[in-house]
């Protein structure tokens, strides 16, 4: 009898909680819903004092405006040590921003994974002189928000002549030592016997790393890749400081700029925001399983 009421009570608790969480979930999803529907509304509907919950009329005006604003070449590649350069076709600047953002995310991801996997492996498996010092420096620097060093970083990028290039955003992300720390945790799990066996077979350092260690820490690299990608996507601060011209902006900066320039045109801003949000959300939904797995794995080891 007693346990019966207990079960009932906990069921009721559960139902109520799920409903409450449903409401919260609705609130969380609302901004996104509003951005996307808002981008298809007419100016009158957006500015009306009573909110229009569902667009009464779907229009593409906002996107048209967004795409007709500014143009930029889709890409520019310079051949080193020459004056030759190739510029892509002229496209709406918003597309270039999107491409910049993806480029930034992917390149930081790749560079971070390569450098961190190698360094993490060395820290875990190589007993080299100075290892403890390097490791403690990494642990200490991990918690440091890189915004703290924005002024020196800006000056440094300027003297390296990287200011206003996407590299000024990428390099600090790659330098951020969390990746190394994470990969070290993963590499600790590589059994010493396997490395020993490889060595006896006559494999060099690189081959041992490549054939033995790398496959074993692959899941960790996956986790790190996802981490870095999200991180760089949301790294608004560095982008704000380092990038200044239409050709180098990222999509977040682009929308922030739209917002400042056109306080009067919410529809246009929403269109920009949708353009920024939708691709990454699609990526997220497709790779959802990996995202969750990556995040969890990072935490377990981190």
């Amino acid at each position: 009898m007693k346990s019966n009421t207990n079960v009932n009570r906990s069921t009721i608790y559960k139902v109520i909680s799920v409903v409450a969480i449903g409401i919260f979930a609705f609130l969380f999803a609302f901004p996104l819903y509003w951005i996307i529907t808002g981008s298809f509304k007419t100016a009158a509907a957006i500015n009306s004092p009573t909110p229009q919950w569902w667009p009464s009329e779907w229009v593409m005006d906002n996107y048209q405006k967004l795409f007709s604003r500014q143009v930029a070449p889709l890409w520019e590649i310079h051949i080193p040590f020459t004056e030759t350069s190739f510029a892509g076709p002229e496209v709406p600047a918003a597309l270039r921003w999107l491409l910049n953002t993806v480029f930034m995310g992917v390149v930081s991801m790749i560079l971070t994974c390569i450098t961190a996997a190698m360094a993490g492996y060395a820290l875990a498996k190589k007993r080299f002189i100075g290892r403890t010092i390097v490791f403690s420096a990494i642990v200490c620097a991990m918690a440091l928000p890189k915004q703290v060093i924005l002024i020196p970083l800006l000056r440094e990028m300027s003297s390296l002549q990287l200011y206003n290039t996407i590299w000024a955003v990428i390099f600090p992300i790659v330098g951020w030592p969390f990746g190394v720390f994470l990969m070290k945790q993963f590499a600790e799990g590589i059994p010493g016997e396997m490395m020993e066996a490889a060595r006896i077979d006559g494999a060099g350092e690189w081959k041992t790393f490549y054939t033995i260690a790398l496959p074993l820490i692959k899941p960790g690299i996956g986790a790190l890749a996802i981490f870095t990608f999200i991180n760089s996507w949301n790294d608004y601060f560095m982008q704000l400081i380092m990038l200044s011209s239409t050709e180098t902006l990222t999509i977040s900066l682009g929308i922030a700029k739209l917002q400042a320039e056109n306080a009067t045109d919410f529809g246009l801003i929403m269109a920009g925001a949708s353009l920024a949000a939708i691709p990454i959300i699609i990526i997220f939904l497709i790779f959802q399983k990996y995202f969750t797995k990556g995040i969890t794995m990072g935490a377990v080891k981190g």
């Binding site: 190698m118 020196p152 350092e205 990454i280 969890t296």
Partner: protein, 298 residues
């Protein structure tokens, strides 16, 4: 690794060369874009450094000024409030959500998980656009609903009122930061050893007892990790402030992060800004040290 016999000298040398060879790519970025600027930051903090003039060495004057600068102290206070309020709230909220949804049947759990993670992937800038509209004094949705349902008597200027602005920032910060903790807790709760839970239930333990006595200790490491990352995240809160309030009204939403930016790019006081950076770094270092200690002892 062979640990039995002490390593020979040749081996040490080989290991060192190989070790650094593997470290080099990472070290270049780490030294070049983290350590070097950090050192520069510390050095410049002892100078009066501004645009288009040589730096003047002024010793600890920047630091001395900092602790008399009421705006800085206010910013420090706000930063601490944000951290102290948002970190526990994030943890509690995400733990509550996860504890309810982790054993839901079918796709419901992953649907919830997804929705709560959406603001993270959408990015704070895009989300902020909508929040700015929702909080608007004149036609924002909160005032619209509030006045229409009679919950508030007259329009509240959410972002323009000292009493509410920081609260609003914290609220938005929460929505963009619970995504990851929920994902983590859900998987941690799923990994709890079920046999222990069942054994306890047989012994007549209530759900509550089950949770605190058996599950809680098992998800403790996850909690610690979440604490660390949300703390770091809250310290870094910048985009929201820059886009929504610019630190106002009356510096009530100034954080150290924003005040550094403000000093550097509105007042051209680089040395002063760097001194703040150093202070912030020290605070964070102490906090992380404490958290690491806690993690070790547990």
């Amino acid at each position: 690794m062979k640990k039995k016999n002490p390593m020979s000298r040749a081996l040490v040398r080989r290991e060192t060369i190989a070790g650094y060879a593997f470290m080099v790519p990472s070290l270049i970025f780490f030294l070049g874009f983290v350590i070097y600027p950090m050192v520069q930051c510390v050095i410049t903090s002892f100078f009066d450094s501004t645009m288009n003039r040589d730096d003047i060495f002024i010793g600890f004057a920047n630091y001395a000024e900092l602790f008399q600068d009421s705006v800085f102290l206010g910013a420090l206070k706000n930063t601490i409030i944000i951290v102290v309020v948002s970190v526990p709230l994030t943890c509690i909220f995400s733990l509550w959500v996860s504890s309810v949804i982790y054993d839901l049947k079918g796709p419901l759990c992953s649907a919830f998980r997804c929705i709560f993670y959406l603001p993270v992937v959408t990015g704070s800038v895009a989300v902020t656009v909508v929040w700015k509209w929702m909080f608007n004094n004149y036609y924002g949705i909160f005032n619209y609903i509030g006045t229409n349902t009679g919950m508030i008597k007259q329009n509240i200027n959410w972002l323009g009122d000292e009493k509410f602005a920081l609260g609003c920032i914290i609220l938005i910060l929460l929505t963009t930061s619970v995504g990851q903790p929920i994902v983590l807790y859900v998987s941690a709760l799923n990994n709890v050893d079920q046999s222990l839970v069942e054994a306890a239930q047989v012994d007549g333990a209530t759900k509550m007892q089950c949770f605190w006595k058996i599950k809680w200790p098992q998800i403790m490491p996850t909690t610690l990790y979440i604490l660390v990352i949300t703390t770091i995240n809250s310290f870094q809160c910048f985009a929201l402030i820059q886009l929504l309030t610019s630190g106002g009204p009356n510096h009530s939403t100034d954080t150290i992060m924003y005040y550094i930016y403000y000093n550097a790019f509105k007042l051209y006081r680089y040395g002063y800004g760097n001194a703040m950076g150093v202070i912030l770094a020290i605070i964070i270092a102490i906090l992380s040290a404490v958290q690491f200690k806690m993690a070790k002892t547990d």
